[in-house]
Symmetry: C2
Subunit: 342 residues, 2 copies
């Protein structure tokens, strides 16, 4: 187990050619175009290649064929002590889908002092990657505009503007939240509230649109309350105020599970029992939501299907030069748990 | 924003040489060895390079200098719907540390039908990466043996056998769990139990060694009970049996937070109050443990320090050819929360 062989990494095609007493081109032909060689030459050279353990340099070959089978994923910055499970789950799904398609994922971030665009340019110029997979697409996302202008292959988890390539995949949040409101209406709720974070993220706006659509469809009394950021204390305070007010709803639709966690704490503080006095539904299906008491009704993102669709769209662009005509909306999956009530 | 520029990707060094009316070598010198050129030539060629927006092909340059500034990380398979937060947190820390050192992370897995060794060989042969960062090191890990035999740079989160390069970093689990037992002894506990999963993972054995060391040091009555895998039902059943028995301990040391979750469920079922009737301590500091009622006392892995040490060791091997003389043990951080009791 401790025997050390010489580093094969150092063996070049020239070394093999010299050892075989043939030209570099003959070795290359043996590997890439065997039909060009006489049978006896091919046999002799192949035997020597095997004997020496020579492995052709894939990076040089990739330079020629123009594909490295590497997809760059600009990964959002996270907290090692409390990583976002949606991000981790998405990455896992992407790695698996890319692997199926014969690609690997290179995690990229701007180097210190680089803009996002400069980081993209560096990778394009260095021909390190075949294309980009983007997530967390914002409105007028500069990365999308830049890659579109460069004509470089990309696919996006999140919608791109109509003037850009439509190589995006997204979850139909509007439809899913409309369905959540339908579940509440079917259980007799008339006064429902929507809890959002006023962050301006496009997916948050979609969820609000879904709430408003559901309220209209079922003629409910809908109200909205929002918090500025992700601060748990603020979420709890705003929810306690609502629960203590005369306008108290019988059901809350939280725009994300993280916001719903604050509703649990607020309900405990106000002596309100979730699943009995108050129905609570949310969005994301964070793993923790199954452990809550009572467990949370929420919407699961079809991460595997999203990743597979993104990779297959990107590979189509890279290998065939074919850009999709339209984006792809995938349905979210409602996960019914006791917080919805009986 | 929709203006399209020609793909700069297509511009080669030959194009620039032709436009400048000089040789390819002159362009290369302007970029890599400017001192070889006359000042007026350098000035003219540099101006043209900028005007054309030519960017040298980093992949070709890397081939020459032998470093791509890419580290391969063989990422364990995970569940997208419930990703392991330790894995996600570690990856985040690795990406950040590698970025600081000017490296990027390539996520690698064996292709369908490939062994782990074949996947490593493919990457070595293709010169895609400068080195490997391994995690979840098992005893006699075949990846370690293979990379050691190849003489290819790697660093390992988890100990390697003495006959292999000692480029590893690990958490001192023995010390941390010994300290946890010390905390229990200081609170008057005499009967303590250790809950483990009999999976044979080396880190589980370290935690057991820490428990036994603590029991000896403080002359406690220690018992062990173990479950076969990760199945929550089995963990709950085994713990209920212990809590209902005459041998019931006043404190449980769970080898991992995941096991501790089962203790919470078992305690609820048996009417035992954690933090009052039963002290509970564990290991890993999964994010969920702060939300438990009562919150869990556990050990936090110093993921940032681990990642920084691994990257710095690996970069030293890649760039300077210097292998560390010894592995590096880093302390875990005790996080005291109410499950420990008053």
């Amino acid at each position: 187990m401790t025997a050390r062989r010489p580093r094969e990494r150092g063996l070049t095609i020239e070394d093999v050619a010299r050892a075989a007493g043939v030209s570099r081109q003959t070795i290359s032909n043996a590997l890439n175009a065997p039909h060009r060689l006489k049978a006896e030459t091919l046999e002799r050279v192949t035997a020597l290649i095997e004997e020496l353990g020579y492995r052709p340099d894939q990076s040089a070959r990739s330079l020629k064929s123009g594909t490295r089978r590497i997809i760059a994923y600009p990964t959002p910055v996270d907290d090692p002590a409390n990583p976002n499970p949606l991000m981790g789950g998405f990455l896992e799904a992407v790695v698996a889908a890319a692997g199926e398609a014969g690609y690997r994922i290179l995690l990229v971030r701007p180097r210190p002092g680089q803009t996002h665009e400069q980081a993209l340019d560096e990778l394009i110029a260095a021909r390190t990657v075949d294309g980009f997979l983007l997530s967390d697409i914002l409105r007028d996302d500069p990365r999308v505009a830049h890659l579109a202008a460069e004509g470089f292959p990309f696919a996006a988890f999140g919608r791109t503007e109509p003037e850009h390539p439509q190589s995006w995949v997204d979850v139909d949040s509007v439809q899913a939240v409309t369905e959540l409101v339908g579940l509440l209406a079917a259980r007799g709720h008339r006064k429902v509230a929507f809890l959002a974070s006023s962050s301006g993220q496009p997916w948050m706006d979609d969820r609000r649109d879904g709430f408003l659509a559901g309220v209209r469809r079922h003629s409910l009394a809908g109200q909205e309350f929002s918090v500025r950021g992700d601060e748990p204390g603020e979420i709890v305070a705003a929810t306690r105020e609502l629960l203590a007010s005369r306008a108290r709803p019988t059901a809350i639709v939280a725009a994300g599970d993280w916001l719903a966690l604050g509703v649990y704490a607020a309900a405990r503080a106000e002596g309100v029992e979730i699943g009995a006095d108050l129905a609570l539904v949310a969005f994301d299906d964070l793993p923790i939501t199954a452990f809550l008491q009572p467990a949370l009704t929420t919407v699961r993102l079809p991460l595997r299907r999203i990743a597979e669709a993104l990779v297959s769209r990107l590979v189509r662009i890279v290998e065939d030069g074919v850009n999709p005509q339209a984006g792809l909306l995938l349905p979210g999956e409602l996960v019914i748990r006791p917080s919805l009530g009986p």
